[in-house]
């Protein structure tokens, strides 16, 4: 199957851009719905599990991309040994459970992309996002998701936001209403690029997720 993806660049708030000039958000929209993983994806996870050894997990923090995320976590006030970077979290689950467990096609796709490239990727419901998304600091009293039932965030947190509201805390919670849910038809895949992460790895991560999701979506969806 040939994928035709158009990668876009998210906007970055001025303060954040000055502090982290190489911070970037790469975004792509794909037509895909959540669901169970097909056998091929489960098989791919098993192969990935077999390739992933304890030695690799221990040395992960010395590899350039996972290390770049660790450094960024430190620089924005997160202890990466407390809240792990996506690649390290996947490695930890692999070691704890003895393999990468299949959950659903989206989570599996994100796991495959994160393990293969080390890049942090997340997904949002594209139809619930208004306008282009980017990174900014939260305002005082702002609620995650913008609704009255969203939790109040502390001021000056780094959030992924659209034109109207904060959609997710960076490397943290995603607002319930903007996350991927069973009715989702289109997904917005978001990769966070930090200093030290090459462009090609970010693109590869997004392509990997899109490719896995495409493997479950029929080429001509029913109207």
């Amino acid at each position: 199957m040939t994928l035709d993806l158009e990668l876009e660049r998210g906007w970055i708030d001025r303060d954040l851009g000055e502090e982290f000039p190489e911070l970037a958000l790469r975004v792509v929209t794909v037509e895909a719905a959540p669901g169970r993983s097909p056998r091929a994806v489960k098989h791919r996870l098993r192969i990935l599990s077999d390739r992933y050894t304890g030695g690799k997990a221990v040395n992960l923090r010395q590899e350039p991309i996972p290390w770049a995320y660790r450094v960024f976590f430190r620089q924005i006030g997160i202890d990466p040994d407390d809240r792990r970077t996506p690649a390290e979290e996947a490695a930890l689950q692999r070691m704890k459970l003895g393999g990468f467990r299949s959950a659903n096609v989206l989570d599996d796709a994100l796991t495959i992309a994160t393990v293969e490239t080390g890049v942090a990727v997340m997904a949002l419901d594209a139809d619930r996002v208004e306008g282009p998304i980017g990174l900014r600091l939260s305002r005082a009293g702002e609620r995650l998701g913008g609704g009255a039932d969203g939790r109040t965030m502390s001021a000056q947190q780094i959030v992924i936001a659209d034109a109207a509201r904060a959609l997710a805390v960076l490397f943290g919670d995603v607002a319930d209403e903007t996350g991927v849910n069973p009715p989702t038809k289109r997904m917005l895949l978001v990769a966070v690029q930090v200093k030290g992460v090459p462009e090609v790895s970010v693109e590869e991560a997004l392509w990997t997720v899109a490719e896995v999701l495409a493997s479950t979506t029929p080429p001509h969806p029913r109207a």
Partner: protein, 169 residues
């Protein structure tokens, strides 16, 4: 003295001219601190890999309630915490490797003269390696060996086999 006091009173009260706010450009300092944090994190990661499989190291560097932009002071504290954690763990690793080296020498001595190291047991953990292997000085033929001073080093064959692969993920 009265003149001095009077002089103050004599001065016509002029409106205080506000001191112009001094804008300190923190960018260079911040950039330098971010670079230092990156370098320290790299050294800490390298040390972490060097210490494996040893246990008992504290790698925790407290978080600052992120993700957010840290102030200059907070960046300094992260840098200082990383530096002190790195120094502490290097010190602990130095002590450990010294003891491990002594234990390696002891194994050699045990192999050469087991009768001088009766019942001494050194494990892989004592020499900073993974696995369950251990060297144990024991008498040959039990009580008879003890009486006759027939001592030898027994090397264990390693960890017991795992129970099985379990359910596939």
């Amino acid at each position: 003295m009265p003149e001095v006091l009077d002089r103050n009173l004599a001065v016509s009260p002029s409106p205080l001219t506000p001191i112009p706010a001094i804008e300190v450009d923190e960018r260079a300092g911040r950039r330098s601190l971010l670079g230092q944090i990156a370098r320290l994190e790299s050294e800490l990661a390298s040390l972490f890999c060097s210490t494996y499989p040893r246990q008992g190291f504290d790698w925790n560097v407290p978080s600052r309630g992120g993700p957010r932009l840290l102030s200059l002071g907070e960046l300094e504290r992260v840098r200082d915490d990383l530096a002190s954690r790195l120094a502490e763990n290097r010190h602990v690793l130095g002590d450990r490797t010294y003891v491990e080296e002594r234990n390696r020498c002891r194994i050699e001595e045990m192999m050469l003269e087991p009768e001088k190291h009766k019942w001494v047991r050194v494990s892989n953990e004592d020499i900073g390696e993974r696995g369950c292997k251990h060297w144990h000085v024991r008498p040959r033929f039990g009580v008879l060996g003890m009486l006759m001073s027939w001592w030898r080093v027994r090397i264990s064959s390693g960890c017991p086999l795992a129970g099985g692969r379990g359910a596939s993920p």
